[in-house]
């Protein structure tokens, strides 16, 4: 009972998922409302009157990780899990094969003929294994994953930037709705995320018309607000 009361509030649901690394790796990111979790976490902490920077840091780190998982899924264009389908077609009963003996033409000679090839690749594998013995300890395995992710983002950013430049022939304004015309929904979301990255790097400007909801993208140092009449 006493341990229960001493346990900090954030180790209880719903906040506990932010503090359990193993759970975090297994969860479906779409089921997590990060904004709600963080807001209520701050509120609870304020209520308790004890500001714990260490816990806040972990919560922030975990939220970033969940966000990363979400973005990664979008970039992979992973479809949401499919609804179980009703039977599509009737499966006929099995066709039982009549039992027949059949002499096959493979002899021990054939078996040994192919062995030569296999032994060659065995030598290659063994040789490669000797050469690639690690000398340094393995780097922390989370880092390469993130690097790979960033490389992919950069590739997507370059590609989108090129497309935008072509559309406006150097400089000008593009409507987001025109950009994603005829694209499937997931592809459009993916493009929007890449666009946010471009904006963060200062490569494009973004401005949203509050009435129509249209987002204007500017390229080539144009100020989005100043040029909205041109759009």
């Amino acid at each position: 009972m006493s341990t229960e009361t001493r346990k900090p509030f954030y180790l209880r649901p719903p906040w506990n998922i932010l503090f359990d690394f193993h759970k975090l790796e297994r969860l479906t990111p779409w089921e997590v409302n990060i904004a709600y979790l963080l807001r209520s976490f701050l509120e609870e902490m304020e209520k308790s009157g004890r500001i714990d920077f260490r816990a806040s840091g972990v919560a922030l780190d975990s939220s970033a990780f969940i966000y990363l998982m979400k973005s990664r899924l979008l970039l992979r264009l992973e479809e949401p899990p499919q609804q179980p389908k009703a039977a599509l077609d009737i499966v006929p009963p099995p066709l039982f094969l009549p039992l027949r003996y059949e002499l096959t033409s493979t002899t021990i000679r054939h078996l040994l003929e192919v062995l030569d090839d296999v032994l060659k690749s065995e030598r290659t594998v063994l040789l490669a294994r000797q050469e690639s013995k690690p000398i340094l300890p393995e780097p922390f395995n989370v880092l390469p994953q993130i690097d790979y992710y960033m490389v992919k983002i950069e590739l997507q950013m370059d590609e989108l930037y090129r497309t935008l430049c072509e559309m406006v022939k150097g400089s000008g304004i593009i409507e987001f709705s025109a950009l994603i015309k005829e694209l499937p929904r997931l592809e459009a979301i993916r493009m929007f995320i890449v666009l946010l990255f471009l904006a963060q790097n200062g490569k494009v400007g973004l401005w949203q018309d509050e009435e129509s909801g249209e987002i204007y993208i500017t390229i080539g140092g144009l100020s989005p607000a100043g040029d909205k009449s041109a759009a």
Partner: protein, 194 residues
């Protein structure tokens, strides 16, 4: 009476016996229906009539012997040696060669009835384990796959048709299959509805 040139004149009964043994041997090793021209080539004769007469004699011999094996005629004047179906349940455990289990056999009958059918469709209907069935059936030479744009299309092979003594013409084959599967097929439909 001394034999007149033993080399040349083998007695007729021996020649007959030898011919029957050759056909028996060919049917045994083939494991599939042989047509008359294949039987002719084994007998080294051009007379299809003669070959046919001899196979029929062998069929009769097998029938009268009441053996575990039978020789049957299938469509297109083709002949096959196989185990009598009623004995299958008793020797099932002995069979080591791929006597396919029910799962792959269902996938096979689905492909046969719906061919040409996309691999995607087969997986949708039969589930992801059907990938293994498909590769097994391909390895056994019962089906082939072919790329058509981004899709993989599956169909049965001539070997499949031969194995079951079915027509090589796909639409005729499907009709034959439906007839074979008919009663069982109807049973299954009823079970799904209940």
């Amino acid at each position: 009476m001394p034999p007149e040139s033993v080399q040349k004149a083998e007695p007729a009964s021996d020649r007959l016996k030898r011919a029957l043994r050759l056909i028996e041997a060919a049917l045994y090793v083939a494991g599939r229906p042989l047509d008359l021209s294949e039987i002719c080539s084994v007998l080294k004769t051009r007379s299809r009539e003669k070959a046919k007469k001899l196979v029929k004699m062998l069929m009769q011999e097998y029938a009268s012997r009441d053996a575990a094996l039978e020789i049957l005629e299938v469509k297109g004047e083709r002949y096959v040696m196989q185990l009598k179906a009623e004995l299958t349940p008793y020797i099932r455990r002995i069979v080591k060669r791929p006597l396919l289990s029910t799962g792959p056999l269902k996938t096979l009958s689905y492909i046969a009835l719906r061919q040409p059918v996309s691999q995607k469709r087969v997986i949708e209907v039969r589930g992801r384990h059907a990938y293994r069935h498909i590769s097994l059936l391909k390895e056994m030479g019962l089906i082939t796959s072919e790329r058509r744009g981004r899709a993989t299309v599956l169909r049965t092979t001539d070997y499949f048709a031969d194995y079951f003594g079915l027509s090589h013409d796909i639409s005729v084959m499907k009709r034959e299959l439906r007839k074979t599967l008919g009663e069982q097929f109807a049973d299954e439909k009823n079970q799904q509805q209940t």
